[in-house]
Amino acid sequence: MNNKIINWFKYASPQSFYPLAGKMIPWFWALAAIFGGIGLWITFFAAPTDFQQGEGYRIIFIHVPAAWMSMFIYIVMAGWAALGLALNTRLSGMMAQALAPTGAIMAFLSLWTGAFWGKPMWGAWWVWDARLTSALILFFLYIGFIALQAAIDDPRRADKAGAILALVGVVNVPIIYFSVKWWNTLHQGASVSLTKAPTMAATMLWGMLIMALAFWMYSIAVALTRVRAIILEREAHTEWVKELPEVKGTGQ
């Protein structure tokens, strides 16, 4: 028990996390490739044509995982941020910073694929639907987080300011979600509404779940890659970085 805590703290230091992350990355890439392969196969070959939406519905296999990821990542990011504020561990801030761009990309993908789905289905690239609107606002929150961190030069300050923003955001995301939803249902005009997806066929469900797993693995792998870069940038002048094989020139 005691040992575990010590271990945990050991890996919370950038110095020991850096090589650990390096070892984990290839595994996550491999998993991402496997799940991605299976998922794509289901997407294009196993899943049957939808009798209502034709082939266009295949977008759902990336749209939904991207939308899920964009929300998950925000929560994970806020979690790291809270940890950083509470325990003052350096790694937490770096993790939050590494996750933000991936989260923003996921949010963007959900918007983009949604728009490319909406055009054939609704005849419009965009409608001011509750879900769409709150996804858009989530994207803005990500951009705000990234812009704030980019605008502050001192990394420690950037971490803390980012952490507060992420926490304020995480309180607000559900508020925003429900307020937009309510706004929309009260005023739903003559415009189109999201046709509730029919009870999904088992293949589709499986395809979506597997694609979601692939997105998970991808996100972890990229975030770890990025956190390694951030660790190096921040700790460039520490002894352990200077002793790294890849810096000494003996590795790679």
């Binding site: 034709g54 082939e55 266009g56 977008i59 990336i62 993908l109 990025r226 020139g249």
Partner: protein, 60 residues
């Protein structure tokens, strides 16, 4: 298999633009992002190595 020919596959039953527009951008971003992330690491490694060499030169 639900596709009669590669052409049918790419046409996606008339939804080709939309389906490939989505999957294309998705693939593009998911390829670009890891490349950029690892380039970021390589860049900092390169500058660290350069600094090290300069330091060694200074000491000599």
């Amino acid at each position: 298999m639900n596709w009669e020919s590669p052409a049918a596959f790419f046409a996606m039953g008339g939804y080709g633009l939309y389906v490939w527009g989505s999957f294309g951008v998705c693939a593009l971003l998911m390829i670009a992002e890891p490349i950029l992330a690892s380039k970021r690491r390589k860049d900092i490694l390169r500058s660290l190595r350069r600094e090290r060499i300069a330091e060694n030169l200074d000491q000599q």
